[in-house]
């Protein structure tokens, strides 16, 4: 494979975004948005095929000597993450097209710039470039957050910008301290540096702290659960799949590379991430809207994913990476299926949505599959993910952690049944006031629900197939991954092997 093509994964979406800002919204713009996302997915799959057997590709931009140039590296882990990211961007864009949101001015270019930032953050091997790419990812998110234009969205947007700006500044301070203590920000040269010098470890700890805030680890998860309910469902699904997951990727990468898996610090991770699992799921119990329940579950699942790095065994890392990919797909599917209901009915409130999705078998299947997968039931990918993770925890002798992980799964299932029982299985809508119209609601839905018939005989609003298909596609992916888990397990094992033994990565990026 020609490594010159690596930076193209960042450049092509940026170019697409530039074109989209000057094009009028319409069919051509939609095609460009979906086409660029599909192209990135194809590139991700090609990269995954090329790195499948443990090959690491590195490119020094501008062919400057290693150490001076901006390095782009792709190994199995980053290729796996890149492919999943591309899949989510494509599916969420399709959902945004179906809701008509993609017609908003600057929506499509912002999504593409966001995806370019994510690819850059996954591929870069330089701490300062990582900061820049994370900012490239966040700046369009600020715009997407405010694009809804409602007061609630704006309030969420303020909190979101403030929390993320503070974290980014802490991240930057960490980068400054790393440069001051280690004399470099090149990941290849930083390999093992934190184990050699405690000063570098403290500086790197600041970077990891910033990343943990971005990943919404308890006790710094408050910003996430209060802001992710503010934007539209498509944007929430996109954010949930990309933002926190990039932070998790960076935590995995930096701890493996710079700390070299230092065993004496792992107990901090075990305590914090187990607390994250438990607090997240308990927070969801008291919530009353579909999206806030799902957002709290996201916090809980982040605890599971990061448990892999806290165990730092081969099995643990493999389980964590498998869990990460599984979670990105499943969570987006849940946000999209409940988002379709929310879009048509204009509310996510469980009480008002009672029985709203009756007579929607396809949507019900999509939600049920993803919900069972999230809770960890066979034959979905969540079962394999949880099983390997619990097995890894038992293997490492962490009995308490394994027990809590299993208990949290049960509460997760209970919470999913709460949404299921209310929205899909509740008594048919009849009594009670007609649902209010949301700000971004499509006109045909307005005709269907609010004005048609008296409340007692009102038929449930039909949800168009275009809104349902994205969620169905993602649920199909989690089912396929669950049935053919060996393929993804092998890829995760390969990625984990490179995190345990970083020499191939360092060799490729430093050209030695």
């Amino acid at each position: 494979m020609n490594t010159v093509l690596l930076p193209l994964l960042v450049a092509a979406p940026l170019l697409g975004a530039a074109l989209l800002t000057v094009l009028p919204t319409g069919r051509l713009a939609r095609f460009l948005l979906l086409g660029t996302s599909a192209g990135a997915l194809a590139a991700g799959l090609a990269l995954l095929a090329a790195t499948r057997d443990g090959q690491v590709y590195a490119h020094q931009v501008g062919l400057w000597p290693a150490g001076v140039a901006i390095p782009f590296v792709a190994d199995t882990f980053s290729a796996l993450m890149g492919t999943t990211t591309a899949l989510l961007v494509l599916v969420c864009s399709a959902f945004a097209v179906a809701t008509g949101e993609a017609e908003r001015r600057f929506f499509a270019p912002l999504v593409l710039v966001l995806s370019a930032g994510v690819y850059g953050a996954l591929l870069t091997a330089d701490l300062f470039n990582l900061f820049v790419f994370v900012e490239v990812m966040l700046l369009p998110s600020y715009g997407l957050m405010a694009i809804a234009g409602t007061l609630h969205g704006l309030r969420g947007g303020r909190t979101y910008v403030t929390a993320n700006l503070l974290t980014s500044t802490v991240f930057l301070a960490g980068v400054a301290l790393v440069y001051g203590t280690a004399g470099t920000v090149h990941l290849g040269e930083l390999a093992g540096a934190a184990q050699d010098s405690p000063v570098v470890a403290v500086a790197m700890g600041l970077v990891l702290l910033a990343m943990m805030v971005k990943a919404a680890v308890v006790p710094v998860h408050g910003w996430l659960v209060r802001t992710y309910t503010a934007p539209s469902p498509a944007v929430t699904a996109l954010f949930s799949g990309l933002h926190t997951k990039v932070a998790i990727y960076v935590i995995y990468r930096l701890y493996a590379l710079v700390f070299d898996g230092e065993a004496s610090l792992l107990w901090i991770g075990l305590v914090v991430f187990t607390a994250t699992m438990a607090v997240g799921v308990l927070g969801a119990v008291g919530e009353t809207t579909t999206r806030s329940i799902l957002v709290f579950h996201m916090v809980s699942q982040i605890g599971y994913i990061l448990l892999g790095v806290a165990l730092f065994t081969e099995l643990g890392l493999m389980a964590g990476i498998f869990y990460l990919v599984h979670h990105m797909v499943v969570k987006a599917s849940l946000f999209l299926s409940t988002g379709a209901i929310e879009h048509v009915h204009g509310t996510g409130d469980l009480e008002r949505l009672r029985g709203a999705a009756r007579g929607q078998p396809l949507l019900a299947l999509a939600f049920l599959g993803a919900a069972l997968s999230l809770a960890g039931l066979p034959p979905f990918s969540g079962f394999v993910a949880k099983l390997t993770l619990v097995a890894a925890a038992l293997d490492a002798g962490q009995w308490t952690v394994a027990a809590i992980a299993v208990a949290v799964s049960l509460i997760t299932l209970m919470s999913m049944l709460k949404i299921w029982g209310s929205v899909f299985w509740g008594p048919p809508p009849g009594a009670g006031p007609a649902p209010e119209l949301g700000p971004g609601q499509a006109p045909e839905a307005a005709g269907g629900t609010a004005t048609a018939a008296p409340a007692a005989t009102r038929a449930p609003a039909r949800i168009r197939t275009g809104l349902v298909l994205p969620a169905v596609a993602l649920t199909a992916v989690t089912l396929c991954v669950g049935l053919g888990a060996q393929v993804l397990l092998d890829l995760s094992a390969q990625a984990a092997a490179h995190l345990l033994d970083t020499s191939a990565y360092v060799e490729a990026v430093t050209n030695r």
Partner: protein
């Protein structure tokens, strides 16, 4: 030493302002915070060597480290754009949390 004290004062002021209720004060706090962190980045390259990093400028002992300066330049641009955006957020949507609670 002067640099360390300056960074400390900037960050202290920033923390005070960010903890206020008004959005504009929070924005000003972030301006101070980014100044403080930019100075931290500058100091990471060493402050004793200050010659311009040009080829004719002398040996490695006298030249300033150009890399942190490039970092700071990038960081300033990013902080500036976000400041503008936050000021826009502060100006739109009245009656939110912009009034002073004191």
């Amino acid at each position: 030493m002067t640099l360390a004290i300056t960074i400390g004062v900037l960050i202290a002021g920033a923390v005070y302002l960010v903890l206020q209720r008004g959005m504009v004060r929070i924005v000003l706090g972030f301006v101070l915070l980014s100044h403080g962190v930019n100075l931290l980045l500058m100091s990471a390259g060493g402050v004793s060597r200050r010659e311009a990093p040009l080829l004719a400028g002398g040996g490695g002992e006298a030249l300033a480290d150009p890399l942190p300066q490039a970092f700071v330049l990038t960081a300033i641009v990013i902080a500036f754009s976000i400041t503008i955006y936050m000021l826009t957020l502060a100006a739109t949507g009245k009656g939110d949390d912009t009034e002073d609670a004191s």
